[in-house]
Assembly symmetry: C2
Homo-oligomer: 301 residues x 2
């Protein structure tokens, strides 16, 4: 039983074992989104606003906010994005940057207890990020790579995660405030990527007893019908014990896989969220909503 | 590494660890299909033929054949169905009945090494079915219930499975020819059904080292949008180590979840089956087939 509590001024979200999976919206990120990057750089945050609202409406429990734009004033942009998103939604945020000054400026304006995304197992990074996380009483995403890069050996990645959790403890950050990202590789490039991730997630939960997250869409990079691969990955990772992910709830295949996985893990109590989301007001009583196709087939026989 | 080899006269299918998941078509079964039952009873097997062909075309690696119709001559019907299906398809069959005489008449006409569906942990059933399985050199589905019914305690179900595997060995049937069905309850009725199934599947694989199967559609009974729940269950069960299921490959949500799970387990080598099935001939080069929606969104920005 490990609970990671994240909050905004008004709302608390708990990432935890045997709780509904936490979807962290990934869209507010200019990486690979040229137009968004250009707009943010020019002070136009209308798309950030629209992405925030759309993701929350689609069911995101938290939002990741990233302002990583080359040659831009990232600390200023990230602070502005954090303030804007907090002014129009009440979900807690994940403050996302690889630049320490940007994390700091985002933390300085944030209301509540955010998730800091991220710290790696590199000594220099840990020594800069962890004191900041401790000072603001935040939680932190721990990415299981270090100075030597991303190991293809899951045992090495586990060891890196363990090192970060221990170092965090030295700074007064409890293991329950460290959410480990096992690093998921594209399955099209590395056939063992899924197996490695599932084994690591299980071990992180059973041995380190930490919550886990990942950037889910990476797994399906380059594949056709990729959202279905991402959704299936998420359901399998949830089965292995993963408790949150940075993902796109606007993709129906991804969101419905997570919701069905919650049903199957028994964390969607009495399947109420599933039934609410899938109830078809036009279905005859007892038909079971969208299962109408089967109903029709049966009647046809 | 456990391989269960099943065959027809011309084709071999291997249910095994670290191999592509084996889909056993469930449709040829008059239970709950009034019209099919009526037709079969009257000697009209046209729907059996159509169901066999449709399921194989949809990707079924094996077909389950059941002729359980109240007040009908089940041994004769099952033998006829087995012969008919073997005359029009070359996939191996699962011969499915709770009546020993029907299993025997199906086995007598079968060409190859079939899967016998099923034996339970009831002493009387084991003493009648296992000698038959041994005599015909077949493999067998072992259902983890006994005289006391289906236990809600996964440890008891594991113990029943273990007993059947040991009893099979007494009859000269190796553990590799016993495919255990952990019995999957409807998740709408029992919120722990998924967790129980996943834990049992993992244990059956790691401790008993046997292959596993289940009647997959049962898990989603009574829920809306149920095929998506069934598909998600299958992907999570595959992640836990399940190696085959009796299922409906004609339901797109179910089949695609299995195919995506094969990708993520690394058993769809270089994702070739997935790419073949999802390639869109109209997509621009590099767009990644049906992922076109994302392509459009990106262009729109």
């Amino acid at each position: 039983m490990t609970d990671t509590v994240i909050s905004s001024a008004k709302k608390e979200v708990v990432i935890g074992f045997d709780r509904p999976f936490v979807m962290i919206g990934e869209r507010i990120n200019p990486t690979g989104r040229k137009l968004l990057a250009e707009e943010m750089k020019n002070g136009d945050f209308s798309r950030v606003e629209a992405d925030a609202i759309a993701q929350v409406e689609a069911g995101a429990h938290m939002l990741d906010v990233n302002a990583g734009i080359p040659l831009a004033d990232e600390p200023a942009l990230l602070a502005r994005a954090v303030q804007l998103v907090q002014s129009i939604t009440d979900v807690p945020l994940s403050i996302d940057s690889s630049i320490i000054e940007a994390l700091e400026s985002g933390l300085a304006v944030y209301h509540g207890k955010p998730l800091v995304n991220s710290v790696t197992g590199e000594d220099e990074v840990m020594e800069r990020v962890l004191p900041l996380v401790a000072r603001y009483g935040a939680a932190v995403v721990a990415i299981s790579n270090d100075e030597t890069g991303i190991s293809m050996d899951p045992d090495v990645r586990f060891a890196v995660a363990k090192k970060i959790v221990e170092r965090a403890a030295d700074h007064g950050i409890p293991a329950s405030d460290v959410v480990v990202d096992p690093l998921v590789m594209p399955i099209g490039a590395l056939g063992q990527a899924g197996q490695h991730a599932f084994a690591l997630i299980r071990r992180l939960r059973e041995e380190l007893k930490v919550n886990t997250t990942c950037g889910a869409s990476n797994v399906s990079f380059g594949l056709p019908n990729r959202h279905l691969v991402t959704g299936t990955f998420l359901s399998m990772a949830i089965g292995a014990g993963m408790t949150s992910a940075i993902m796109n709830p606007l993709h129906a295949e991804v969101k419905s896989a997570v919701m069905a996985a919650d049903v199957l893990m028994g964390t969607d109590k009495d399947c109420m969220a599933w039934i609410r989301a899938n109830r078809d007001p036009n279905a005859p009583a007892g038909e079971g909503g969208r299962g109408g196709r089967e109903g029709r087939r049966r009647r046809r026989e």
